[in-house]
């Protein structure tokens, strides 16, 4: 059971990978944006032998340039923190969002290469005109194995649609961190959580 689950977690990488960027158009529909970004990332991976050979610096570069601009990391961090978010100072909030972003980039850089041979299908978008929050539902099919559902929670900001959560086979990448964040805050306060995140980003092993 765990093993099946663990395999699903791998798809998280693919999900993050599916959101790469070209200059966003303000009137672009959210599902069109996911499609454009994911095709762009796939094309980049296919055309770059260094990325294919697992060059980590290069992969992180790709993520920073093409993916990161399409996420709202402040909202992601707030979601992962739950009610603790409001008790953090603006300065702490900024550090938390920066460290959480770095952790997610690091985590999914390792698995990005597997994204190359995926096909992405889109389910019909349920959206009313004027909606500023929407879930884009996709299904990723690998050359072998069962397809995996990947949903993106998206919000409309002045500079276009941004993702604030990715739900892989039912597992939210963001709220999955909530208990871990709570535990750190219980033990060492908000600064304790910042420290732990920073340590992990410098390569300290997970508990």
């Amino acid at each position: 059971m765990m093993l099946v689950l663990a395999r699903r977690i791998l798809f998280a990488a693919l999900a993050i990978a599916a959101l790469a960027a070209m200059p966003a158009r303000a009137d672009e529909a959210p599902d069109a944006m996911v499609k454009r970004v994911s095709q762009d990332v796939q094309a980049t991976i296919r055309s770059d032998p260094l990325i294919q050979s697992g060059d980590q610096a290069r992969i992180r570069d790709l993520i920073e340039v093409k993916l990161v601009p399409n996420f709202d990391f402040t909202r992601m961090t707030a979601l992962a923190m739950g009610r603790n978010w409001r008790s953090a100072t603006p300065e702490q909030q900024k550090r938390l969002a920066d460290e959480f972003r770095a952790l997610l980039v690091r985590t999914y850089a390792g698995a990005l290469n597997q994204y190359r041979e995926q096909t992405l299908e889109f389910k019909p978008l349920k959206m009313n005109p004027g909606d500023t929050e929407v879930t884009v539902r996709t299904q990723v099919t690998k050359t072998s194995g069962s397809p995996v559902q990947i949903d993106y929670s998206m919000e409309k900001l002045p500079d276009g649609w941004k993702a604030y959560d990715v739900i892989v086979a039912g597992v939210s990448l963001v709220t999955n961190y909530r208990d871990e964040f709570n535990e750190q805050i219980r033990n060492g306060g908000i600064d304790g959580l910042i420290r732990t995140l920073a340590d992990r980003n410098k390569g300290a092993p997970a508990k």
Binding site: M1, L3, V4, I9, G110, Q114, S144, P147, Q149, A206
Partner: protein
């Protein structure tokens, strides 16, 4: 009759109070009241898995071609699809069950279950199991459990797995060495599929135990609700 009922009252009240207080005190660890024991088991699992199971799975991936490994996975999935169909019926999901039985017929008779032609034709797997059936029937989830060499589960899901093992079909193979070999192959097949994900958890988690627990429980909830779970309480608070 009446005096007796009256005598019972304080007991009932005490029970209710105990349940209520217990419920309040336990809100945090309600899903995982056995956390200390589970964490110990998690560490045992790390040692055994890291030294024995994972190396075997890695060897399997190195030595056996992808095509063969996919075939092995498909054969086991084909058996699971049959039981997914049974569980679809037990939950009254006839359409899903129909898909599963259709998949089994197609995959078994076309290609002996070695290829998943049904998926290629767009017939989706039902992904039902006994744990989900118990959930739909209203059985409580029970405490979360971490079992070495098996992984995360709950009392309800674990009971489902025991039922699944009991109904077979591998358990009915009379020749014990063959039976055990098939169990072993199924196990290594699953572990091999999870190799990449272990890396992701090791890099991404602050506390791997909690990361895996949450991912497991979210995933099960999603399956029980067939992919459309209602928002969790904490998400509702978020939107207030």
């Amino acid at each position: 009759m009446r005096p007796r009922a009256v005598r019972m009252l304080p007991i009932a009240a005490a029970l209710a109070a105990a349940l209520f207080l217990g419920g309040c005190a336990a809100t945090r660890s309600k899903v995982d009241p056995l956390e200390p024991m589970n964490r110990a088991m998690f560490e045992v699992n790390d040692v055994v898995d890291g030294n024995i199971v994972k190396p075997i799975a890695e060897l399997y991936v190195e030595a056996v071609p992808q095509l063969v490994r996919t075939g092995v996975t498909n054969v086991f999935n084909n058996i699971d699809d049959f039981f997914s169909g049974i569980n679809g019926l037990l939950q009254g999901k006839t359409e899903k069950a129909g898909n599963d039985f259709g998949r089994v017929l197609l995959n078994t008779f076309c290609v002996l279950g070695l290829f998943d032609v049904a998926s290629d034709l767009g017939i989706e797997r039902g992904n039902e199991d006994f744990g989900q059936t118990f959930a739909v029937w209203g059985f409580p989830q029970g405490p979360y459990l971490f079992v070495p060499l098996f992984g995360p589960t709950t009392v309800r899901d674990g009971s489902g797995v025991l039922v699944r093992v009991a109904v077979g079909p591998v358990g009915f193979i009379p020749y014990v060495p063959l039976r055990n070999s098939i169990y072993g192959l199924g196990y290594v097949d699953l572990r091999a599929q999870a190799l990449g994900a272990g890396e992701v958890v090791s890099t991404g988690a602050l506390d791997r135990y909690l990361f895996i627990r949450n991912a497991y429980l979210q995933r099960r909830r999603y399956l029980v609700y067939d992919g459309n779970p209602p928002p969790a309480i904490e998400e509702l608070e978020e939107q207030e």
